[in-house]
């Protein structure tokens, strides 16, 4: 079923805030990279390189496009880093500017999230931040529900431990 461009733009605008937050989560909360990833994803959707097949909700499908685009960006950046021989620490911790714009509680949550694995972080974001079910989150990440559930439980456990440690300090 072909969706008119105006309709697609309206849907993109409707999910824009959530999409931006998801792009931030996929890009280690690097704002400029997240904006690039989001624009590239919108471009793919609008010019038909990514076609919605109505097998899931538009939001989960769009999140899948954003995740794959972020992975492509990361690969291009890795090639660029190799060519320029610059060292880019792969520390997913949020930058100080991000921490300044958030409350202490949110900053602590972001710091704890930065210390779980990428898969766990993405699952926790999709379930707790975006209010998706584990089945939907598994669809976004392209993994089985069982694997998603395992990562989700482990990530949740680890996040709780770190937040408890932070609270005790």
């Amino acid at each position: 079923m072909e969706i008119a461009r105006a309709d697609v733009e309206a849907k993109l605008e409707q999910h824009h805030a959530d999409s931006f937050a998801w792009a931030m989560a996929c890009c280690g909360r690097e704002r400029s990279e997240a904006e690039d990833v989001l624009q590239t994803s919108y471009l793919k959707v609008l010019d038909g390189r990514a076609a919605f097949a109505s097998r899931s909700s538009f939001k989960t499908w769009l999140f899948g496009v954003i995740r794959r685009t972020a992975a492509e960006h990361r690969r291009w950046r890795a090639v660029g880093r190799f060519r320029s021989r610059t060292i880019d620490p792969a520390d997913p911790a949020p930058d100080p500017a991000t921490l300044v714009t958030h409350s202490e509680s949110s900053a602590r949550l972001l710091a704890a999230l930065a210390r779980v694995t990428e898969r766990q972080r993405q699952l926790l974001h999709l379930v707790f931040y975006q209010d998706l079910t584990i089945v939907e989150a598994a669809g976004v990440l392209g993994i089985s529900v069982g694997t998603a559930r395992t990562h989700y439980e482990r990530g949740k456990q680890r996040l709780r431990e770190m937040l408890t440690v932070e609270n005790d300090r």
């Binding site: 733009e9 993109l12 605008e13 824009h16 805030a17 931006f20 937050a21 931030m24 704002r31 904006e35 624009q39 919108y42 471009l43 609008l46 010019d47 714009t101 958030h102 409350s103 509680s105 949110s106 949550l109 972001l110 926790l124 974001h125 707790f128 931040y129 949740k156 996040l159 709780r160 937040l163």
Partner: protein, 120 residues
């Protein structure tokens, strides 16, 4: 949902509310931006074209700037004279034993062909 889950959900909801303030305005990509990937395509096409030209099986090998005609080159070793030894012609030829005309056939019929037994 457990209390722990609820606490986590509250924390994420709080983060989400704070994030909303920093979300950039939505803007659909322009038509010009839609072609921004075309330079990559052009570069990829050029690389493929060059690879095809270089990998052509019937391509002649590149000519050397200074080719040497080995057939026209003559070289003699300065120690060749040591190989010129006396009587070396004998070693390099088959000795002639004379022409067949000069050899008289041996008439074996005039002679007794086989020695007879002396015992009767």
């Amino acid at each position: 949902m457990s209390d722990d889950d609820r606490e986590l959900r509250d924390r994420f909801a709080h983060l989400r509310a704070e994030d909303r303030a920093g979300v950039p305005a939505f803007r659909a990509p322009s038509a010009a931006a839609r072609w921004s990937w075309s330079p990559r395509l052009v570069v990829a096409a050029a690389i493929v074209l060059i690879a095809l030209v270089l990998a052509r099986p019937d391509a002649t090998p590149p000519r050397l700037a200074h080719e040497v005609d080995l057939g026209a080159a003559a070289w003699r070793s300065p120690t060749d004279f040591l190989l010129v030894t006396p009587g070396r012609e004998l070693l390099r030829s088959v000795p002639a034993l004379g022409s067949p005309e000069t050899l008289a056939p041996i008439d074996l019929r005039g002679r007794s062909s086989a020695p007879e037994s002396t015992q009767s």
